[in-house]
Amino acid sequence: MIKEIKGALIITKREVRDQFRDWRIVFPIILLTILFPGLMNFTAHQAVSFVERHNAPIIGERLIPFLLMIVGFFPISISLVIALESFVGEKERKSIEPLLCSPLSDWQLYLGKLLAAMVPPLLASYLGITVYLIAVRFQIGWKPDPVLLIQILLLTTVQAITMVSGAVVLSSQTTSTRAANLLASFIIIPFALLIQGESIVMFWAVYDILWWVILAQILIATLLVRTGVAYFNREEMLGRELDRLDIGWGWRIFRTEFRGQADNIYKWFRFELIKNIQDMKLALLFSLILLIAGLLVGYSQSSRFRIPSDLLSFEHMSNGFIEGLDAISFFSTSSVTLIWWHNIRVILLATLLGIFSFSILGLLIVMLPLVFIGYTVGNIAAAGLSTSKFITGLIIPHACFEIPALIIAGAAILNLGATLTTPADGKTIGEAWIISLAQWAKLMVGLIIPLFLCAAIIEVFITPKIAASLFGG
C-alpha cells in the first residue's frame, strides 16, 4: 500500500514543482499568504479601536476569529482553479496520454492529482493563518482559544479537500477547461452559502456548531473522493472528445430503464416494479433504519424541549371535533388533493436536495415526519397520557400507507446518491445517474404517489373518525 501511495506522490511532486514554476499560481498564493493576512490584521485593529470607542467591544471580539477563518479560506480558493484544470488541462495540452500509458493505476493517478491541487494552497493557508495570528498577537494582544484554532485548521483543511475533490471530479469528467469552469458553479454556489453560514456561526460565537460543519464536510469530501475514484478511468479520459448535450440520448436511456421489458401496464407493475424493489433491498433496509433512527431522535429530544402538558390534552376532541372539521369542509376531495400534493412536493424537494448532497439532505427531510412523531409521542408519554391511543387513533390509520411510501422514497433518493459514488461497470457517470433517476421515477409513479393518495384519503375520511371514537367524541 505504501509503495502504491509513493507512486501517486510522484505525480504530486511533479505537479507541485510545476505549479511553483508558474507565476500565475505563485503570485496569488504569495499575495493571499502574506499581504492578505496583513490587511486582515489592519482591518481587525481598526475595527477593534472603532467599536471600543463606541462601547461595543463584542463586535471586535467576534470579528477577529471571523477574520481568522477568512484568512484560512482565501488561499484554498486557489485550489479550485488548480483542481479544475488538473485532468482536463493536461488533456487540452495533450500531455495526458503518456501519463495514462504509465503503469500507475487509475486511483494512483487520481490521488496524485488530488493531492497536487490541494497541498500548495493548503500550505499557503496555514502560513496565512500563522502570519495573521502573529500579527494580531503583537498588535492587539489577541490569542485564540486552542479549541477554536483546531476547529479553524480542521475547517480549512476539510474545505480544501471538499472543494478539490469536487473540482477533480469535474475535471476528470469534462473535455474542456471551459466546461469544467462552467460546471464549477456547482461547487462555488454551495461554498458561498456555506461560508455565509459559517460567518453567522463565527459572529454568533456558538463555535460548537463548527464541529457539525466539519463532520458534514468530512462526509461530503469522502463521498466526493469516492465518486472521483469510482468514475475515473483512462478510457473515458481519452475516449470522449466532446461534451455534448444530447437530450435525445438521455431520454432514450431514461425511457428504456423506465419501461424495461414490459409491453403493458400489468407487466410493468408485475415484473419491472417488483424487480426494481428487489434491486433496492439494501437501500430499503437502510431507509427503514434511518426512519427508526429519526423516531428515536425525536423521542430523545422530547425530554429536552418539553411541550407543556396542558397543550396536549385530548379533551377538546370529545366535543364537536367532527363537527368542527366538517364546518371547515375538511371532509372533501380538495382536502385529499391538498394533503396528497403536499406529500408529493416534500418528496420532490427531498429528491432535489438529495441530488446536490449525495442524498444526505434528502434523507434528512424524509426522516423529519418520524422525528416529529417520536417527539410528540415522547411528550405525550411524559404528560402521562395514553401513547397507544394517540398512535392508534391519529397515526396508524394513514401511516400504514404513508410510512411505506417514505421508506421507498428514502431508498430511491439513497439510490440516486449512491450511484454517484459507485462505479457502474461500462457506464458513464451521466448514464448511470439517468438510470437511477428512471428507477426513482418508476417507484414514484408505481408506488409512492399511489400510496400517498391512499394515505391522504384515509387521513381525510377515516383517521378523524377513528380518533373521535377513541377519544370519546
Binding site: I10, S102, R234
Partner: protein
C-alpha cells in the same frame, strides 16, 4: 510478442476497431497504415491497455491487455501522436519523472537518462525547459521517454508527422537503430516511404478493419501483380507490330517505348531483348518499373471502398 485475436473496440454504435488479428514476433517491425480515422490510434491505445477491448483479446509480451494492464503498460514504450511533454520542465527532470513512474532505481535511472540523451544528441539540453526545444528535439525527447524503461515493445504513433524532412530523417534513423532481435516495434504512419523503409511487415487498416497484411514484397506481388518492365527505343515505333515471347505480356505502348509484364523475369527478359533486336528494333534501355507501397496502398483502399461507392450510387 504482440498477438491479437478478433480485437475490437466500439464506442456506442461506432466501431473504431473491428476484429483485428495481428501477430508480430520479437525483432519484427510492423507498419500500420491507413487513412485518417481508420483506427490506428485506437489500436495503439488498445495495445497499451488505455482502452479496454469490446471483443477479442490482445497479448503484449505475454500479458493480457485487459487482465494484466499494469504489466502491459510496464512492457510497452509509447510515442503518442502528440509529444505529450511538459513545457516548463527541464528535459532531464522530465525523463526522471517517467523513470520514477516505471519504478527504475535512482542510480540506474540517472545513468539511463544520461545515456539516452547522449544517444539522441540532446545531452547538452538536459537542464533546458522543454518549451524552448525545437519540434524535432521534442520528438526525440518523447522517443527517449518511450525508451526510458528499455521496453521490449515499442508503439510509435505518427513518429515523424508534421516534422521537417531533416528532423524526420533523424527520427527515422533513430528508429532504425532501435531495431533489435528482442524488441518488437509497431509504427503507425501516413508516410508510405517511411513504412517501406522501416517495416518488415505492413498492415493496412481502413474503417477499423485490417484489409491487407504481409511483407512489402508480398503485398506488391499480391496487389500489383508480376513486375513490369519498360523498354525505350531509339526511334518511333509507328505502327510496327511488336511480338513478345511467351511469358511476356504487353501492357502499354508509346511512341518510342513499351511496357510489358514478365511472369518469370530471369527467363523472359533475355528472350524479349533477343526478339526485339531480331525484329530490327534498336533498344536504348530496359528497366523495371518501380513498384512502391503507395500503389499498393491506394489500390487496397480503393478496392475496399469501391463496393461502398457503388452501393451509394445504386441507392
Amino acid at each position: 510478442m504482440i498477438k491479437t485475436y478478433q480485437l475490437s473496440k466500439h464506442f456506442d454504435d461506432f466501431i473504431a476497431v473491428n476484429q483485428i488479428n495481428l501477430n508480430v514476433e520479437a525483432g519484427e517491425v510492423l507498419g500500420l497504415l491507413g487513412p485518417n480515422g481508420a483506427g490506428k490510434t485506437t489500436t495503439v491505445r488498445l495495445l497499451t491497455s488505455v482502452l479496454k477491448p469490446s471483443h477479442g483479446w490482445a497479448k503484449i509480451a505475454g500479458f493480457d491487455v485487459e487482465k494484466q494492464a499494469k504489466d502491459v503498460r510496464a512492457s510497452v514504450g509509447v510515442l503518442t501522436e502528440n509529444h505529450g511533454v511538459y513545457n516548463r520542465m527541464p528535459a532531464g527532470e522530465y525523463l526522471d519523472f517517467f523513470g520514477q513512474l516505471y519504478e527504475i532505481e535512482p542510480t540506474v535511472r540517472q545513468k539511463r537518462i544520461q545515456e539516452i540523451l547522449h544517444h539522441f544528441g540532446i545531452a547538452r539540453s538536459i537542464h533546458q525547459p522543454i518549451g524552448e526545444f525545437s519540434k524535432g528535439m521534442r520528438q526525440k525527447l518523447a522517443l527517449a521517454r518511450a525508451l526510458i524503461h528499455n521496453p521490449p515493445v515499442l508503439l510509435l504513433d505518427e513518429p515523424t508527422s508534421a516534422m521537417d524532412p531533416e528532423s524526420a530523417k533523424i527520427v527515422r534513423d533513430e528508429i532504425r537503430k532501435l531495431r533489435s532481435n528482442d524488441r518488437t516495434i509497431i509504427i503507425c504512419t501516413h508516410n508510405l516511404t517511411e513504412a517501406e523503409g522501416l517495416a518488415d511487415k505492413i498492415a493496412i487498416i481502413c474503417d477499423g478493419k485490417i484489409i491487407a497484411q504481409g511483407s512489402p514484397k508480398t503485398l506488391k506481388q499480391q496487389f500489383l501483380g508480376p513486375a513490369e518492365y519498360i523498354v525505350h527505343f531509339s526511334f518511333n515505333l509507328n505502327n510496327n507490330k511488336i511480338e513478345l515471347p511467351k511469358g511476356a505480356h504487353l501492357e502499354k505502348k508509346g511512341i518510342d517505348w513499351l511496357i510489358y509484364r514478365a511472369d518469370d523475369p530471369a527467363k523472359v527478359n533475355p528472350k524479349v531483348l533477343e526478339i526485339l533486336i531480331g525484329q530490327g528494333l534498336q533498344v536504348v534501355s530496359l528497366q523495371e518499373v518501380p513498384q512502391n507501397l503507395e500503389q499498393v496502398y491506394l489500390q487496397v483502399i480503393n478496392n475496399h471502398r469501391e463496393p461502398e461507392i457503388s452501393n451509394d450510387q445504386r441507392n
